[in-house]
Amino acid sequence: MPELGRAALVAALGLAIYALLAGGLAAHRRKRRLARSAQNALVAAFVATAVAAIVLVAALARRDFSFVYVAQLTSSDLPLPYALSAFWGGQEGSLLLWLLVLTGLGAAAVVTGRRVGEDVIAWVVPVIAGVATFFALLVVAVESPFATQVAPAEGAGMTPSLQNPYMVAHPPLLYLGYVGLTIPWAFAMGALLARRVDERWIVATRRWTLLAWGFLGLGQLVGAKWAYEEVGWGGYFAWDPVENAALMPWLAATAFLHSVMIQEKRGMLRAWNVVLVVLAFSLSIFGTFLTRSGILNSIHAFAESPIGAWFLTFITLVVAFSLYLFFSRLPLLRSKTRLESLVSREATFLYNNLLLVALSLTVLWGVLFPILSEAVRGEQRTIGPGYYNFFLQSFGLPLLLLMGIGPLIAWRRASLRALRRTFAWPMGAALAAGVALLALGAGSSPLGLVAYTFAAFVLGSIVHEFVRGTSARKALGAASWPSAFGQLVSHNRRRYGGYVVHAAIVLLAIGVIGSSLYQTVREEELRPGQAMTAGPYTLAYSSLERRQAANAEELRAVLVVSRGDRDLGTIEPGKNRYPVEQQNSNEVAIRSDPLTGEDLFVIADQIDEDGTVYFKVFVKPLVNLIWLAGVVFVLGTLITLWPDAREARRLAARSALAPSET
């Protein structure tokens, strides 16, 4: 069936080009039926891409090695879920996934966004279609997943480290985030093209932005979990350029989600919001370029990459188009409202925006510097974690503090007396936590102590907000405390869902600080029968065992773990050998304590023939709060995303009251 896949992609390309040209013409000449036809073409492009995707999925499921792509990434003994995950394991499949998600989200956003006004939607369609045309062109003419060959007897198999459940979920989540950021950008560009910069584009894209941002955040956490369990160096984030590629647009989108509220509440920052949405989308395309062009290996690999030059041209066009539109429509974006006070909620949002953008651009410079230095000086100079950690601390600590300050300050202005009263409780909680932590020995890292004190302040302010809000709802007549709490959240999902997301970020910060600044590391070479200690744990090496798994030979060092007099059972770090792929992998052993959130993390770094093993052992306090943060993050995002019937009615009434001008 490769012919069907190829034909479907050619159809998708044709439909995307039609949606671009017909949509542009319809919007320019204000032709209703042609605009609808272009919208239908975008929907049809999704259907055609879905057909191509089904063909590839079927080939992967059947291990049809006559498809070059399938033979390069799978083997007969590869378990089915991993074989299917090869869809996004290679270049061609990843590009097809980009196109599938883009046309799917684009069609859904256009169809559901029709109520905001045909005039804006008419321009959104050709913008989305322009991006779809680029990706369709890549999968049709440059990197087709449907190239065929005489089927070899066996496929090359999948890189062992990719054979992990988290790696099955990580790339599609990230793609949903990257691609999802196309939607707010397309609506912003559509509004500028239509010269209608009212709030409609923001209302139409609010949930799409949140969805993309949520997926991007969750995708990064799942990727961190994969790195922690599978890559096995003892960490979860290494400031690798591929990791940074996802972090940069997420930071820009976080800034956008905050600043857009100022536009809705105060009518301010219209131009800044367009800048942020352009930055977030450009960084998402840049992230895809980084991971797909080969430029991270070297400039030479980039020059040899078939898609590198295409991506660079596309990014240049996107940025040039966005900037042209921005500057040409700048007079329309001027705001009449001004900031009334530097001590107000909108001011804290503004500070948070500046810090988030500064952090995003700092990371961008860290990613670009080695590439530029190689291009200019011929030698690749790397930027180490020290650079990133310095800026993370410099911008991250004030950001953490602002998360606690923002909710306590009123919109417009706040008096000193009001500040003293609202800050008293969270400040008290923070000081008490700081003193308690100092007594518990957290002073061994002054940075950690300060960060934990800030974290306590933020958690204090969040709890304070929920308590005061629930009390106010109860006073307004709620039947019971749970009902008052329910009403509080349901009447302002964005505000209180946002606080839940803030709580997730605090949990993340606590986990990261605990597992990095307060971790214990021990390395020792042991023979069977010998033991070592790491923090409060004793690890006795009992034996080395060999086993045969479905597609790998397993070698495991069995360690008996105890803490004081308490026997904690055994853990088995080791290595896997994959005969088809001709590769080895490190298989770490992790023992989690659900009560303290601590992990005992063991790597069998080197295993000798005589059974001697070089162990690397980490004790990571609070590391599990990072994964818990993921759950809370999803909960908070869902609360903010949940449809609000009252708001929908208000917006519908507004649309009904604004009669059409034809």
Binding site: E3, S37, T662
Partner: protein, 94 residues
């Protein structure tokens, strides 16, 4: 052969779907894209923003985020603003 037939079917369905707006309305009375009135929409957005600000101020006052002093300093101006936007929206509608 099956692939060819499926490809042709897909292409035919896409063409019909794309042409549907013209097939449904071969000769429409009006084929112009509608757009809400800009001035009216701006006034309605202003009105909704002012009313939402007033509502938020009231709630923040109840929760104690805003002191009595700050509330008194803000509420008058916000009420005037809300009344002005309501009047302006009504006047434009009339």
């Amino acid at each position: 052969m099956i692939a060819l037939a499926l490809g042709a079917l897909l292409a035919a369905l896409c063409v019909v779907w794309v042409a549907l707006p013209f097939l449904r309305e071969p000769e429409p009375a009006d084929d112009t894209l509608a757009a809400p009135g800009a001035r009216r929409l701006a006034l309605l957005e202003e009105r909704d923003r002012a009313l939402a600000a007033l509502k938020e101020l009231e709630f923040d006052h109840r929760t104690g985020t805003i002191s009595d002093e700050d509330y008194r300093a803000s509420v008058g101006a916000l009420r005037r603003q809300a009344a002005e936007t309501l009047r302006a929206a009504d006047a434009h509608a009339a």
